[in-house]
Amino acid sequence: MRKFRLYFEEQHRSPLAQLWREFARQHSALFGLALFSSFLLLSLVAPFITPHDPYLQADNLLLLPPSWSEQGLVQYPFGTDDLGRDLLSRLLKGTTFTFGLALVTVIGALLAGLALGALAGMSQGMKSSFFNHLLDLILTIPSLLLAIIIVAVLGPGLANTAWAVSLALLPQFVHGIRNAINEQLKKDYVTAYRLDGANNWQVLTRLIIPNIWEKIIVMSSMALSTAILDIAALGFLSLGAQAPIPEWGAMISDSLDLIYLAPASVAIPGLLIFAAVLSVNLVGDGLKTAMQRRRES
């Protein structure tokens, strides 16, 4: 390190570095990020690290209690279910279905919402007002109800759940992105860029998207927590993932009739859903606070 600074230099961090600095100051947000990354990693590598086959039914080991009780086996840390399937392996595998699928649906809804939101935000007049009314209509219908109706039309199943949830998330993305674009379009620097001869496409890609992407990430984090809860809820109502698939919500409803015999098989999947949603909410909250503090500083 140099001891003396000959010239007075003003240090400017990039906006991203400032954001990270404010984000890293919040312990809860960092904890959320760590939890989120581990869920992300698990959902990618889950099929390779399960200690047992999640679908294998060991009929000599039915309803084995968790390993911390007297009768448990250490090879089956959380015990087995009523068909003798290892609970830990099923939970690990379930990360892909609940968390991973939620991530995929949110990314799908985000991309579609970005296209439609840009279309709605950049257009004016009749087209945009028609769009507004359509969105107002869909936004009034609760997202889970919309998903349930879509599942009722398409029929239950994991793939249909994904379609239903991403379709149900789409309106709020379009709405949020359109509002964010409208807000940016009013600013002077957009006018200046237009006076330089930029067309709509250039304004959108070079000015607006770089300026709203942080907002979009916060929006996505809220959508992701909704998506996890909706997928799990549909699984719980047995409208989503069907019987052998170890989706967390479906696992809870499968072991519901065993709740007196094996309370852990209801408690642990629920705890995982809670942890997954919590991690997403903590990251989203941390980002929001960090953005606010960066603006103030």
Binding site: H133, V153, G155, Y260, V266, L271, I273, V277, N281, D285
Partner: protein, 338 residues
């Protein structure tokens, strides 16, 4: 104000139009025979089929079918339930009050707890109290409602036995249905055991209300806290302080009045989430409301009922939304300009 009301009315019209269009198209989108989806009659004899096709104008264009559909809706002929062969509208009339009762108590709880806690959290946002409340709210709105309900049942019904695990009233008591709202009906009923029944109904209400109120309460706390913090930064608060008002006076006369205004609108926005959560809560606590009825209809592939349930719930949500927005505008002159 009149202008605003007219615009809202126009918007309401458009939304209802779109909703009816969606409900109409569901008759074709659902698997099965459109005629059966619209009428809900299980056994369609050839003669009845011909009559209904003529009455529903299924042999005409889609536009004329839609107009016939609207006409039927208007006259209260919503078709029959495929499962029970009863008129749908009377079935809905039986189950809807239970849902409204449960959701309104949950809203009340969220209001009673959410507002004071939000204000408390805003007094010192970085202090211990603020941080504790903040942590609880983040945990609260991450809870999957069905798991939370099961946990509470495990602890309070199965473990401690304090509250019943489902239903609206113990099987010992019988209350004639007048309004459909349990507490009102008990009040109207002439029985010698009124007080005991009332307590029993309250015990049945306790767990579902707590489960249902968790999400809106936490959202309310955060909302009030953020609104309060924002108002506290405004210039008129500084002016009020400079005039020499004490902290409490500033809070009551300037802070609360401005911070709590958007809360009215928040109630409307919450309502849609609340109805969704109510559906899950009703399933778990076997609460005979519209959510459980709708989910049962889905399991039974009772398409006319799904269609009617969608319309009723959406109209309910839209109306509450609209009403709270109008109320908000009525109280807040600044919102009228937009």
């Amino acid at each position: 104000m009149i202008n605003f009301l007219l615009r809202r009315l126009f918007l309401l019209g458009t939304v209802l139009f779109g909703l009816s269009l969606l409900a109409f198209s569901l008759g074709y989108l659902f698997p099965g025979d459109p005629l059966q989806n619209f009428s809900g009659i299980r056994q369609l004899e050839p003669q009845l089929r011909a009559e209904l096709t003529a009455a529903y104008r299924l042999d005409h264009s889609y536009l004329s079918q839609y107009l016939a559909f609207l006409n039927r809706l208007w006259h209260g002929d919503w078709g029959l339930s495929l499962a029970s062969q009863q008129p749908l509208l009377s079935e809905i009339r039986q189950v809807l009050p239970a849902t409204i009762e449960l959701t309104s108590y949950a809203l009340l709880v969220s209001f009673l707890f959410g507002v004071p806690l939000g204000i408390l959290a805003a007094i010192k946002p970085e202090g211990y109290l603020g941080k504790i409340i903040n942590t609880i709210t983040v945990a609260g709105y991450s809870l999957p409602v069905f798991w939370w309900a099961l946990l509470l049942i495990m602890v309070f019904s199965v473990g401690l036995g304090w509250f019943p695990s489902g239903g609206r009233l113990g099987v010992l008591y019988e209350i004639p249905t007048v309004s459909g709202f349990m507490l009102v009906d008990i009040f109207l009923a002439e029985t010698p055991y009124q007080q005991a029944i009332f307590l029993d109904a309250l015990r049945h209400l306790a767990l579902p209300t707590v489960v249902l109120a968790t999400f809106p309460t936490t959202v309310m706390i955060r909302f009030v806290r953020d609104a309060m913090l924002e108002v506290w930064e405004q210039n008129y608060i500084k002016t009020a302080k400079a005039k020499g008002l004490s902290r409490l006076q500033v809070l009551y006369r300037h802070g609360l009045r401005n911070a709590l205004l958007p809360v009215i609108r928040q109630i409307g926005l919450q309502f849609s989430a609340l109805i969704t959560l109510a559906m899950l809560t009703e399933v778990i606590f076997s609460w005979p409301g519209i959510g459980r009825w709708l989910l049962d209809s889905i399991y039974q592939r009772n398409f006319p009922a799904i269609q009617a349930g969608l319309m009723i719930i959406s109209v309910l949500v839209i109306t509450v939304n609209m009403l709270t927005e109008i109320l908000h505008t009525f109280f807040n002159p600044l919102a009228r300009k937009r």
